[in-house]
């Protein structure tokens, strides 16, 4: 955290092309992202009465179907260079980012040992689309194809401002959460949730939530510093 704060301090001087936003707005933004996921999970549980453990494919699909529009519509509002790029275009970028990000995530997961096979296809596909919603889609909506920004967010993890934070931290949180979520898989506890991709999805969602909380508290802290 300290590192991130230092980076933030340094970056406050750089002129941001993003819209300036108030702290209430930041709060709402973070809440919507977090609540969207919670709502999706609630709907899956109570409306369709499926859970990750007994039907991972269906649940994951439900979650991303609910979460993806929220994320795309929300982040398209904070697109870079809003004068040159229309809202619709930003939404289109987000929609394009969804399958592309899914492929990247799926390849990454497979390289790390996710099972390959026709019987796993739908699980992996839905999981990677959800991961794409967490990681790639917000960046695609906001930054489009700006290679420098992508690298700044993902390779260097140097976010400037609340929107960057909201893109960067939950994305990293989701990836790290999914990574840790894979740990129980080889254990011989014989629990149904040890199957791919159940515990990995749990880890990813938990990491995403932690990322949102962290991003919100850092942006508040940053505001507080600015005022001083």
């Amino acid at each position: 955290m300290e590192k991130a704060e230092k980076k933030l301090k340094l970056s406050t001087n750089s002129n941001s092309t993003l819209l300036p936003i108030s702290s209430l707005y930041t709060f709402i933004l973070h809440t919507i992202c977090g609540l969207g996921l919670a709502l999706a999970y609630w709907v899956a549980h109570n409306v369709y009465s499926v859970s990750l453990v007994n039907d991972p494919t269906q649940t994951l699909r439900l979650i991303w179907v609910i979460e993806a529009p929220i994320v795309i519509l929300l982040f398209s509002g904070f697109r870079q260079h809003p004068n040159q790029c229309s809202y619709i275009k930003a939404v289109g970028r987000g929609l394009l980012g969804l399958p592309a990000g899914a492929i990247v995530n799926a390849l990454g997961a497979i390289a790390l040992g996710a099972p390959v096979g026709i019987q796993h296809f739908s699980k992996t596909a839905n999981w990677s689309i959800l991961m794409s919603v967490f990681t790639i889609v917000p960046t695609a909506s906001v930054f489009g194809s700006s290679w420098i920004e992508w690298r700044r967010i993902f390779a260097h993890a140097k976010p400037n401002g609340p929107i960057d934070l909201l893109i960067c931290l939950p994305a990293h949180g989701a990836v790290i959460g999914a990574w840790f979520g894979a740990w129980p898989m080889p254990l011989d506890w014989e629990r149904p949730w040890q199957e791919w991709p159940i515990c990995v999805s749990f880890g990813a969602m938990a990491g995403y939530m932690v990322g949102i909380v962290a991003s919100f508290s850092i942006s508040l802290f940053q505001k507080h510093l600015k005022k001083e």
Binding site: G108, I110, A111, L112, G113, V116, G117, I148, R151, F154, A155, H156, W179, A182, M185, P186, L187, D188, W189
Partner: protein, 888 residues
Amino acid sequence: MQELSNISPSYDRLILMVVDGLPAEFVLGRDDRPAPEIFRKSMPYTQSLLDRGVATGYHAKAAPPTVTMPRLKAMVSGSVGGFLDVALNFNTQELLDDNLIGQFFKIGWKMVMLGDETWLKLFPRSFTRHDGVHSFFVKDTVQVDHNVSRHLDAELLMIDWKLLILHYLGLDHVGHTGGRNSVLMGPKLEEMDEVIKKIHRSMVQNKHGRTLLMLVSDHGMTENGNHGGASYEEADALMLLIGLRDYDRRPSTHKTVNQVDITPTLALLFGVPIPINSAGILIADTLKSLEAAQQLRALELNTWQLFRLLQAQLPDLSCSSSCGVDKDGPGNDIGECDGNTEEIFCCLYIKAADLHKAWKSCQVLGSNKVEDYRSTVLAYNDFLRTASEWLSRRATNKPVGLLAFGLTGMILSSLILLSLLYQLEQDVCMIKEDRTSHFSSRMHKWHMDEIFVMAIVCFLVLSMGSSSLIEEEQYIWHFMTSTLYFLLLRKAVQSISSVNTQDQGNFMERQIKRRFIQMSSIIFVLISGRILRGWHQGGVNWTNFPDISKWLESEGTAYIKPVQLVSLLLLTTSGFYALSFLRPSKRFVIVVGLSFLFPAILVLQYIINYQSSGVPASSNNATLLVQIIYATLGTTTFGIVVAVPWFMPVRNPKGCSSHHYNVLHVGIADSLYLIGLVYIICWGLLQLLLQQPINSAPILLLLVQILASMCSSSNSDPEPKQWVEVAVVYYLGMAGHFALGNTNTIATIDVAGAYMGVSSHSTVLSGILMFMITYAAPMLALLSMLINLSRRSKISLVNAQDVDLHFLLKTTLAYPCLVPLGLNSIFLVAYTTILLLMRNHLFVWSVFSPKYMYVCATTACIYIGVLIVASTVFYTYSTLGLRKMWIR
């Protein structure tokens, strides 16, 4: 035999019924509580026998490892084995120690064995008739027992045998499949009860002689039905004597004896000598039908036998007349016997012997007293119990001092290695700061990959505490290595940005090209790593899942063979390609290349001619060819290694003056590169020959993976620290170890390959081959360190103006040697500690101990590899040093 003249056999025939894995709790209950109702109801006949006092039950405590073979050995020879027993005998071999079966065979008994074929392996020639069943198909709970019972009726009518062994495996299989409370357990117990009923009925009707039925189990089982450890549930074996002649007619409380006590008891009941290594003591109750003199005689024999065993362990133990015993008070308690071990044993022994003597003389006089008899029995029992306890403790005792000493030594060596590494890192940093002072601020910043290399060590150490992560270790290595490569990929992406700031046409282009090579080779490593992971499922719990090797094998040799040939071809090609990087000395390279083309062709010939049918070829021609290949590979490697430093053309690097140092150091770097390549290519060719045909593609992938990894690090721009590079290759090697199908169980060692090209049986040769097959991947990684080393010496050459040998060795050789040693020492120390902490764990025999053997073997592998690397480097340096002197 003469000693036994005083004891007449109490019985003529013995039926030994072994019910594999039956816990005594099922029949006798636990701690004065009766057996669970459900099990009591399943065995009505046995329970009625117990209630009437016809049968006498004992809890026969089994010593770990509670697996069948060592337990059978313990029952028939009375000796207490250790884990090494399992390790050294994973192929069950004939029991050569003195044992009951051997004794019975000697006195001419005809014996019949029906059941588990372990008996046949232990006693191959002893049985007149036998029907062995396999114990491999654990899912089969019905057929195994049917195969035993089908002969039972006929055998019970026969009168020729003296010993009938029935070994029922079904109950153990029920346990393995469903645990103690499996629904199949009741019916299985009923079946066993029926068998007991049948035998007992025939015993009662039979007039052929006095028959004793002994029902024993070799070990118990846990709640889940497993066994192997030392918990009460596993060690709680049963011993039930049915048909004792002088039984009490009242249900007795069930005593606890040791499983090894079965040996002397049976020996004395049937009038054969007690096996010499037996540590058991006679169960006195069983001899009650004998008259007093004979009972004392039996105790005396058991005492003599144990005393001799003690003498073998304690050479100082000799009870001559010097061991004074007060004659005044026969009937003293043990309290008077003290001193050191020898004195106590001596005192107890002499006391018992004197009492016996006194009793005998009284008997002659006719003034026999029950009291004297009792005190003699007590004295004998005191000696026997003390001696037996001491002997079994000695067999399984843990020499705490030695353990602590060993562990301290390991920790010390690990600390020394790590502190050396730390010191080295400091030194190298200092040197670099001196050379390039403007970089100094960057040097201390820790990169992600460096942190993660350390984190992997922590994760691995933590994972060693979990038995299932040890069983499935292949996942961890692959997961960690791949994550590390993802981090390296991220770092590569990071370094692109630094290029963009320097807009210099040509330079920029070169940078982009380097980045492209770096990233594509990392991606290649990732992809091939995933293929390697998918090649063998590995592990213990999910071995039956589909993987590439199973698929290829099911498709048959038509698929495997092309894969093998392509692997061989690509391996040779990639060898040539890597060689071609040594451009300036082209002619020299061609000579070297041609020299390993010859063994490659020989391997090709072997694959085409002899590996066509799935069975390993064992004809003379095949053996001869393999021997030729061994010889060619050996001489080629050795010849090249010896010759290269002498003949390597030394050249002027661009921009450097014709300074002798530098010229020769370039020569050193080139020779090391060449030697490293020759090592790994020859090792790869050897593995293509030795490994199972299915493993040829993984060998190729591993080799190319390591080369790609080197390529990526040589093209990365802030040079990764050398220790990171070395650690990455080490991890690749370990991940590859599991990718070749190895696991942490002994079962996956490829025994068939170990006899390739060995014309006569030689344990040493086969052992070396087995080691080479098992540790193919880590060894390959270690040998490839030479290439890394060569590149590093080139780099330090570019940076340095005047290099001395000391500096060059420090910056090049130190890391490739110290990092593997340091990493391995951490794992060794951590695992030794964990093993000591887990020594009472349920899986200590089945999971932790085999893994420890692998850890030790890995240590040996690392040391050998490092030794080869270090000696090669020293040889090269000294040779070129000599040449330098001549040039001057």
